[in-house]
Symmetry: C2
Subunit: 111 residues, 2 copies
DNA sequence: GTCTATATATAGCGTAGCCATATATGGAGG
DNA sequence: CCTCCATATATGGCTACGCTATATATAGAC
């Protein structure tokens, strides 16, 4: 159901990690990218996203630093750590396993 | 991650509805089927499952009735209601949308 | 006689995502 | 000029889902 999909829970981590895989991004940018790339089907409210960023930074999966530019609100850019890269790879494997398992149990008819 | 996959949250409903699509089943049977068919990758603890069954029965998606047989603990068999059938169809559509959206955002490289 | 599988149930916990609200700045439009 | 919108981050309080632990009860195996 677009912005209120019941399957969304637990998917924020992998989305964040994947989006900063190639280059650092700030929170607001990540939120907008998720919304745009999913055509509005996944929409993490910033109020969910910022605490999530803090959590996974505490776990050392990502590392943030403040960037200040004149005439601009300060932004916190997050980059993926080595640990985060491993976690992302593991979550991608888990994701594949999960959708295969879902298909076997409940969605056999047109997996 | 087998029994503790981070993507599991929110998936119980569709699994339950799908498993009683063709014939009524009781809670314990549903739990065992999820575990077996997913080869242990999805494992909903019965302590999660029974409250979930009560919840979706209150929503009228499923309807349960007690079956008692001699020399057997009583079982509550749940069948899918007409509403439940529509919800299941909608959740299957949402599921397809969701995995497509996830691929677009985060898993492009080998969707 | 105890252990395991079957079968259902509740209390209490942690966490993810939600809404509301707060703060702050730059640019566009009336 | 002033208000609105987009940008940008943050917190408090809420709900829902799945968890552990615990309880009850019976049949069959060892």
């Amino acid at each position: 159901m677009t912005a209120h999909n019941e399957f969304k829970k637990g998917s924020a981590e992998i989305l964040i990690l994947a989006l900063i895989e190639d280059r650092p991004r700030h929170g607001y940018e990540i939120a907008k990218l998720i919304e745009q790339r999913s055509h509005g089907e996944l929409e993490f409210h910033v109020a969910s996203l910022y605490p999530m960023l803090h959590r996974i930074e505490r776990r050392r999966w990502i590392e943030g630093r403040w960037i200040e530019k004149a005439g601009q609100r300060r932004r916190r850019y997050y980059r993926l750590t080595a640990v985060g890269r491993k976690v992302l790879a593991a979550q991608r494997r888990n994701w594949r396993e999960f959708i295969r398992a879902m298909e076997r149990v409940a969605l056999v008819e047109h997996a």
